[in-house]
Amino acid sequence: MRNFITPRYYLPALMIFILLLIPLFISSPYILHIMAMVLFWAYLASAWNIVGGFAGQLSLGHGVYVAAGAYVSSLLFANIGLSPWFGMIIGGLVAALLGVIVGYPTLRLRGAYYALATVGFAEGFRVILINTTKIGSWHTGGAEGFLVPLLGDAPQHMQFMSKVPYYYLALVLLLIIVGFSFWLDRSKLGYYLTAIREDEDAALALGINTARAKLIAAALSAFFTGVGGVYYAQLIRYLEPNAIAGAIMSNQIVFLAIVGGRGTVLGPVIGGIFLTIIGEMTRILFDQVMGLHLFLYGIIVVLFVIFKPRGLIELVEKPYEKLVKMLNGRRVEGAS
């Protein structure tokens, strides 16, 4: 029992508590929407991190899984009325299946093959989405995009008029993925993945089935990303192949994870939160000159990458450890 009141436990609990309370103090739907998007991006970056960070296999096509989750759940929802809550599972599974299809032949190879395959697969998937207007009698919208039916307040179908439920939903998703990453980091599979990332030959020599471990990581990552896609579909309610399955989506996910610190539990979360907020801020504050916001965003990112190449996580880790030590010290002092 005594262990649970050390800073190592109550600091994260405090942070989660603050995140839970935020909607009580912020009434602006816009700010809540942005915060939900911030948490959502942090979630996607964390999901990517499973294969891209822990396993060290660069996937440049995660947009495919976002799109798969979004399209599968939305099509089932629009055509047979299946609630997106169930669609989350199915969408995630379809995404995982796609992840296996890309990964199975290429993850046994070394070098850039997996990264190349993900790029090619993503581009192909986008083109298929653009050119398919119907699956059987189900309209997919093709390049014109797919409008998710608006039902107003329908909690059973993951639709809300208020932004508060969307915020909490994003928060829950993020907590799940962080919890999962935390577990993965300390699990047998996690050690396998670390071994593969550090030295694949050595891992093989130790008897690890590297192809299988990588494939599991890829499937898990795709699953979580697909679940994220379902959330996106219900928040934005419009799926456009270029925006959702295109390179911009895929690259953004990678970008957030790498700037935040790939291969760490919280790096992608920090990257997602920081960069999304910076992106939003620069867009609003520097709207007088066309394109200036992207320029400033770029500069901020470049500065971070130059000075903190291992990710933003470096900046947060040390002060956090210090804080924990300090609080620990105080507690011990008080006890004595």
């Binding site: 014109e144 996106y232 270029n242 925006a243 609003i284 709207d287 394109g291 992207l294």
Partner: protein, 421 residues
């Protein structure tokens, strides 16, 4: 030492962020009893690949608003001035949604205009509908925008399929006038949202007109060689060839048709690439006698058209295009609605917009009559056909149809005279 310097830069970044955060949070939310200014939010692609068209849309709006404000603002609101707030959608649907949320809940705009791309407009208008804030769309043309039963969305543009409908009408009209029966049509289109929308319209209206589609040929928009497409068309010998293309593929198609001397009764484009100034540069004389559809041309025979275009050219250094004219007109439609609403109550503005009936003033440069139907769709959006003609050694777009809006003294050349000109 290096670490220390690092730390300073980090501190600097954090300070900048904090300042931005505070500045960002303190904006908006002010309100006063008396109406001094009317905030209008505008969502446009101001960065990304569509930034140039976003910019010209912004300039056209600014010019209209300057005129309106200089003429005393909105008189029924005590001469209140219009204040424009621009939001960059980056051409991305999710960003468009976030910006609509911001404009409505932070900036508290009275209404919104935008968003150029249909893909951004669809979800952004849904946000406005949810908050019951009127949304005027001057440009986006995807049919479904005004087919969702929304009450707060008004479109000043034509639907995509209306263009196809007018093209078919034009073909029938020409066939009758010149005694050249048209039976078969080939459709060639780029394979994104736009081309896919066009082909739906063509299929519908060609079928209604009893014309036979002998070829439906989609191609990827960034194709570097369209010879196979052209050869297919040549073999089938359709009476009319209809195209929906971006600029590089429009030029490529035109030049390849010239190379293989394909000779139908007419080539008809669907704006887009054919309306781009670059098209003439890359095709030279090859495009002569091609037809194209649009809603406005610099030479169109409508009141105020020349004057406004001249003023725009003086101000910004280049002429208006159809999108700019729509954006410009939209501001006057909004002004008219605000005058009649006499309040900033969104419901009053919505009602005034729905009751719009503009038959005089500068909006004539776009349409002789502006009214919206139940769905918020402009009735009878004006569509015209122009033909590319060589005048004094330079290619020009000459408005030829319908007759009363044609460039005075010019008539369509039909059928296509062939390549040995």
């Amino acid at each position: 030492m290096f670490i220390k310097r690092n730390y300073k830069i980090f501190l600097l970044c954090i300070t900048v962020l904090l300042v931005m955060l505070i500045a960002g949070c303190s904006g908006g939310g002010k309100s006063s009893g008396e109406v001094k200014e009317i905030k209008i939010g505008n969502i446009l692609p101001l960065s990304g690949s569509a930034a140039p068209v976003g910019k010209i849309g912004q300039q056209a709006r600014d010019m209209a608003v300057e005129e309106i404000n200089a003429a005393g603002g909105i008189k029924s609101l005590g001469g209140a001035k219009i204040k424009m707030i621009y939001a960059d959608s980056k051409g991305d649907p999710a960003t468009g949604v976030a910006e609509a949320e911001r404009l409505i809940t932070q900036e508290r705009v009275a209404l919104i205009t935008g968003a150029y791309q249909s893909g951004v407009t669809l979800p952004a208008t849904e946000v406005a509908e949810r908050y019951k804030v009127p949304f005027v769309c001057p440009v986006p043309s995807e049919d479904v925008i005004t087919e969702r039963g929304f009450k707060y969305v008004f479109r000043l543009a034509e639907k995509t399929t209306w263009r196809n409908r007018e093209q078919v009408r034009f073909i029938q009209d020409m066939a009758k006038k010149f005694g050249t029966p048209v039976k078969t049509v080939a459709l060639i289109y780029e394979n994104t949202a736009w081309g896919q929308g066009a082909v739906k319209g063509w299929e519908k209206y060609l079928k209604e007109a009893g014309l036979k589609i002998v070829l439906k040929e989609p191609y990827p928009a960034n194709s570097s060689d369209l010879t196979p497409v052209v050869l297919k068309v040549k073999q089938l010998k359709p009476d009319v060839i209809m195209m929906c293309s971006y600029v590089s593929d429009a030029a490529l198609l035109t030049n390849t048709f010239a190379e293989h001397k394909v000779k139908p009764l007419a080539f008809i484009g669907t704006s887009g690439g054919f309306a781009d100034p670059v098209y003439f540069k890359t095709t030279g004389d090859n495009s002569e006698y091609f037809f194209d559809i649009s809603t406005w041309e610099p030479d169109v025979n409508r009141p105020f058209s020349k004057e406004v275009n001249e003023k725009f050219k003086q101000k910004y250094g280049y002429p208006m295009n159809a999108e700019a004219v729509k954006a410009y007109t939209a501001m006057y439609v909004i002004k008219d609605a605000l005058e009649r609403a006499g309040s900033l109550d969104p419901e009053a503005i919505r009602k005034a917009l729905a009751e719009t009936k503009l038959t005089s003033g500068v909006t004539q440069m776009y349409a002789s009559e502006i009214i919206f139907d139940e769905s918020g769709q402009m009735v009878n959006a004006p569509l015209i056909i122009s033909q590319f003609r060589k005048i004094n050694g330079k290619m020009e777009r000459v408005t030829v149809w319908p007759e009363k809006e044609a460039r005075p003294g010019w008539k369509p050349v039909w059928p296509f005279p062939g390549w040995d000109k």
